[in-house]
Symmetry: C2
Subunit: 277 residues, 2 copies
Amino acid sequence: MCPARVEARDKSGRGFVIPIGGAEERVEDPVILQRFVDLCGGSDARIVIIPTASQLDETGPNYEQVFRDLGAGNAVSLPINTRDEARQDDHLKTLLQANGIFITGGNQLRLSTILGGTPIAQAIRRQNATGVHVAGTSAGAAIMPEHMIAGGAKGALPTAQGVKFAPGLGLLNKVIIDQHFSQRNRLGRLLSAVSYNPFASGLGICENTAAFIGPDDVLEVVGAGSITVIDPSELAHSSMAEATGKESLTLLGIKMHILSQGATYNISTREAQSAVS
Amino acid sequence: MCPARVEARDKSGRGFVIPIGGAEERVEDPVILQRFVDLCGGSDARIVIIPTASQLDETGPNYEQVFRDLGAGNAVSLPINTRDEARQDDHLKTLLQANGIFITGGNQLRLSTILGGTPIAQAIRRQNATGVHVAGTSAGAAIMPEHMIAGGAKGALPTAQGVKFAPGLGLLNKVIIDQHFSQRNRLGRLLSAVSYNPFASGLGICENTAAFIGPDDVLEVVGAGSITVIDPSELAHSSMAEATGKESLTLLGIKMHILSQGATYNISTREAQSAVS
C-alpha cells in the first residue's frame, strides 16, 4: 500500500502493469487510481489516457478530470477511434512523453483491432519496458496479456466453447486476465482459457480491484474485491483436446488462491502470500 | 458404469452413498436412477423412499412409479411429515426391509428437523453401514454428510457469511456436499464451507449428476454434468478467523478438480483420475 514499498520493488527497468477488474471507484475512496497517480509521481505524473475501447466521447475527458483531481500534474487523453488516428504523429509524440498510461474500459476488440500493429501499440510496450507504468480497466485490463480473452460463456464450469482468445498487447505473457470476475460469473471461461495450455496463470479480477504487478513479477492486490488466481502448473489432466461443445471439461489438479487487499502472488514462481504474513 | 465393476469395489460391508445434484433425469436416459436400481438388484431391489424434504404429497408416489418403471422389484415411500410420524413403528419396519434408500429433494432443514435423532435417522445410518445403498437428490444429497450446508450466499467468492452449517445425517464425514452447483453459482459457499476447517473435501455436484461413493471411498461421477472437487488439504492460509461480513476471504493453496462422467476421486487419499486413464 505504501509508495515507498512500491519503489523498493522497482529493481529492473520495467514499469508496473496494473490490470483493474472494471468499475473502479473514482471519487469516494479511489484507492486504485490514487495509487496509480502516486506511482507516476503525483504532481510530476504525466498520464496519457487511451479511451479507444469506449465509444463514448466523454470517457477520455472524464478520466483527465479524475486524474487531475487525484493530484496528477498532467493528464491528457488521445482521441483514437480509427487505425488512421492510431498512426497520427502528434498522438505518438504525446504518448512518448507519458510516465503513466491508462487504458479505459469498453470493448477489448476495439483495442486489438484499432491499435494492433500500430505505432501506438508498439510505443505502449516499449514505454512499459523502459519504466512507464501502464494501468487498464475492464477491456483495458483484458488487452494487456499476450493472449487476450475476447469473449466466452458465463458460468462456473470450463467447456470446449467456454472462451474465445485473440492476440493482445503482450505486456505480460505469464498470465491470462479476466475482469468483472465474480460479478459476471466468469470462473468457467478462465478455467477454459488456462486448460488450453497451462503455461500461464489465470487472474480473475473483481470489480474495483487491481493487480499491481511490479517489475519483480510480484502482483499485489489493491481494492475492495478479490483476485482469484488459477495456477495450472500442476495440472495432471485436461480433456480439452477431446471435448466438444458445451459439455464440461475434466480438469485434474488445478491450484487456486483467493486473494484480497494486500495479498501477493509471484507470477513467475507462482507463490502466493496473504497480507498478514 | 458397469455393475460388475461396482460389485468388484464392494470390499467392505458398507453400502454406496450416492449424492445427486438435483434435477436428475427420470424418464429419458435416466442413467443415475437406473444405476441405483441396478445396484440394489433390479427386480430384487426393495427401495424405500423418504420424501420428507418435500411438501408435495405426490413426491413419494411419483418416485415409487419411477423406480418401478426402471425395473425395481419393490418401491415404497414413507409419508413422514412430523417427528411423531418419524417414530411410527410401521415406518421403521418398512425401512429395515430395504436394500436401497432414496431421499428426495425439497428443503434439507425439513430433513434435519423432522428426522434428526429419530429411529428413522438412526436406521438409515445403520442400514448403510451394513450394506444398504443410500441415494439422495438435492436436499437429500445435502443432508448426507456430518456437516450439512443449510444455506448460504450465491456467487464465486468465499465470505465469512457465505455459508450456514447444520448437523446432517452423518453418512459421510470426509466430504461436504453442495448441489445444483453450477446452476445456482455456489462455488463461494462451498469454498466458505471448507475454509472453516479444511479436514473435509468439498463436492459441488451439478444437476443431473451423481457421485457414486463406494465402500472403498472411491467416488465415481455418473450423469450429464460435472462435480467440482475442492481439496483444501494443502490450504496454506485461510482468513476466515479474522474476516467479517461479506468481504471476500483470502484463501491460499486450494486444490480443485473438475470431474465429468466416469472420472473418480478417492475421498480418503484425495486422488483424482480421469475416465480415460
